[in-house]
């Protein structure tokens, strides 16, 4: 896979590398990476610090007395001692929120990307709905969510419940539908960009050979936009995983997600730096894993370059 891709882009790369050596590129990239990482290192460090070090002056980059209590407390593992436990006793453990997020975010991401990809193909190849349809879809991202939350809540918890006998409030399905609906605009627009870049004659050749449109869509076009598809999936997953305001308004107990849980910790216990930092670190782990898995495809999956004229 690696070599195949390299062969594909070698010529284009020669131009770049001639001027800017790999060593210089590495140094520049390393500097950027370190700058980017510094704030993360700071919360990572806070998450291992005991309560008296959270606001220590002068601050230390590494915890002087590293502890795991901030993490243990989140899942109620063991019996952490001291002030931390008293501060956290009013907040719930994060197990349920974590499980909910692990169900809601991946399902709505797959649904959003699939629906968006199909619609993007229709828009890109057949101009279904003209210019209006993709634009109309984009309006879902234009409303300030703070303003949309009230009427949406009214719709979910009153109209749907009373007239259609569908209860979506505080359920997984309710959030999945909403997350799919509010991210599908991105799936559509991002995939449209990638599909537009695939030359049409590749598909036309297959159609002339007698392949059905569905076959062309999934066996010709889909593999060609794989890199874009993974990039879109990752982005939509991030949006769904980190969404805050809608989850806050539409869940109360059963379906709460990780960001809502983080905010509850914030309100329940004031300046609760250590466990909040620990929760922030934990909350980013699934996305980091997803990012790492997908990144292989991002790096090796730039297949557009291999479409031969």
């Amino acid at each position: 896979m690696q070599t195949e891709t390299n062969k594909g882009v070698t010529t284009a790369r020669i131009v770049e590398t001639r001027k800017l050596g790999p060593a210089l590129r590495f140094v520049l990239a390393l500097i950027v990476a370190i700058i980017v990482l510094l704030p993360v290192i700071w919360i990572l460090s806070i998450s291992f610090k005991p309560v008296e070090e959270w606001k220590a002056d002068p601050p230390t980059l590494l915890p002087r007395r590293p502890i795991l209590d901030n993490y243990k407390i989140l899942f109620r593992i063991g019996n952490p001692v001291g002030t931390v436990r008293e501060m956290v006793s009013s907040a719930e453990p994060v197990n349920r929120a974590f499980l909910n997020s692990l169900i809601i975010a991946p399902i709505s991401t797959v649904a959003s990307v699939l629906i968006g990809f199909c619609a993007a193909y229709a828009v890109s190849r057949y101009q279904v709905g003209g210019n209006f349809m993709p634009f109309f879809t984009l309006t879902t991202r234009m409303f300030p969510p703070a303003a949309f939350a009230v009427p949406l809540l009214f719709y979910y918890s009153w109209i749907l419940r009373n007239y259609l006998k569908i209860d979506l409030y505080d359920t997984h399905l309710g959030l999945i539908l909403m997350y799919t609906g509010f991210t599908v605009a991105f799936s559509l627009w991002m995939m449209k960009g990638f599909i537009d870049a695939v030359p049409r004659h590749v598909e036309e050749a297959a159609i002339l050979d007698g392949a059905s449109p569905w076959r062309v869509l999934f066996t010709i076009t889909l593999p060609l936009v794989k890199g874009g598809l993974f990039a879109t999936t990752l982005f939509v997953f991030i949006l769904n995983w980190t969404e805050f305001l809608l989850a806050l308004e539409f869940t109360s107990r059963e379906a709460i997600t990780v960001p809502v849980q983080i905010s509850r910790y914030a309100t329940a216990v004031g300046e609760f730096y250590g466990p909040k930092a620990a929760l922030g670190i934990i909350a980013s782990i699934p996305v980091v894993i997803a990012g790492y898995l997908i990144q292989r495809h991002l790096v090796t999956g730039f297949t557009f370059g291999m479409v031969r004229e």
Partner: protein, 314 residues
């Protein structure tokens, strides 16, 4: 005689038409199936809430007044009030400033990084993961992180004191301009990786032939970038900018956590103002009118921005 000539051709035409109809039908079915899920989802989710917002915006109602169906209709009065509201204009201006500054910085850094990462070098994959990390954090966490960094006794002030002497410490969240800068900085830190990811994917997706052709013709690197790569990248650039700008325009969580709009209301964004109007002051009609105005404004601007991407008669 004329009949004899006429009949076969008519039969031919009928056959041709029915075959065409079959193909069209098949094509249409395919196209409908492609967009149907999207349409169903959007109509199910959006149409009723949109009507509710529009209705709320033309009545004079607050939850305290009881049944909203009995509230008097005042038509455009709420809209007039919004347009003469100084706080609204200030929040709007501030939001536009955040969007412009943050998104420009994200784009410039992201494009630079994307070009840097086109070449091969040591540990490229790990460094890519590291640089993508900030966008994987929830907003709430990013806000909290930057809040900790810029606390009076936090690490940024500590470094300033070490470098410039004890007087160099700054109360970041007490000065409007400084508070504003920390918010922009947090937004850039979190979303620069997104620009990088999109532009990097876009660069990788470009066909090589035009670049090779330009090389053969002896164009230099700058010319290839400016006249070959950049125009081909334009659709992706526009999409990335529009997506980012739309999201940045709704900035809420970061400000909510870091400054809560303060000092005073000097860092209040339009989303935060609407949130306050709805949930703190309970002025739902007024907030709805403001939301509709914002939607109109954003719609017009977005419409202009994506014009180059639209399909014209071919």
């Amino acid at each position: 005689m004329a009949d004899l000539v006429h009949k076969p051709s008519q039969a031919n035409a009928t056959i041709r038409v029915s075959r065409l109809a079959r193909i069209i039908n098949k094509e249409t079915n395919f196209q409908i199936a492609l967009v149907a899920p999207l349409q169903l989802l959007l109509w199910f989710l959006l149409i009723v809430p949109t009507i509710v917002v529009l209705y709320l915006s033309i009545i004079a109602w607050q939850p305290i007044l009881g049944d909203w169906t009995k509230a008097p209709i005042v038509w455009l009065k709420n809209y007039g009030d919004v347009l003469s509201d100084r706080v609204f204009w200030a929040a709007l201006g501030r939001t536009v400033a955040v969007v412009t500054i943050a998104v420009s910085l994200e784009f410039i850094i992201g494009l630079g990084l994307a070009l840097l990462f086109r070449g091969d070098f040591l540990a490229k994959r790990i460094l890519t993961s590291v640089i993508l990390y900030p966008m994987m954090l929830p907003w709430v966490v990013v806000g909290f992180t930057f809040y900790l960094l810029f606390l009076p006794q936090g690490p940024v002030n500590y470094l300033l004191r070490q470098a410039l002497g004890p007087g160099a410490a700054v109360s970041w969240f007490k000065e409007p301009l400084l508070a504003f800068s920390t918010i922009v900085l947090a937004d850039v830190w979190q979303w620069m990786p997104f620009m990088f990811l999109i532009l990097y994917s876009g660069l990788g997706a470009l066909p090589r032939e035009p670049v090779e052709a330009a090389m053969t013709l002896g164009a230099n690197r700058w010319h290839i970038f400016r006249h070959v790569i950049l125009p081909m990248l334009k659709p992706i650039i526009i999409i990335a900018l529009v997506i980012r700008a739309l999201e940045a325009f709704k900035i809420f969580d970061l400000i909510f956590i870091m400054t809560d709009g303060g000092p005073g209301t000097s860092t209040e964004s339009i989303s935060l103002y609407i949130y306050r109007l709805s949930f703190e002051y309970q002025r739902l009609s007024y907030a709805a009118a403001m939301a509709v105005l914002i939607l109109l404004l954003v719609t017009v601007i977005t419409r202009i921005a994506i014009r180059p991407l639209e399909y014209h008669q071919e």
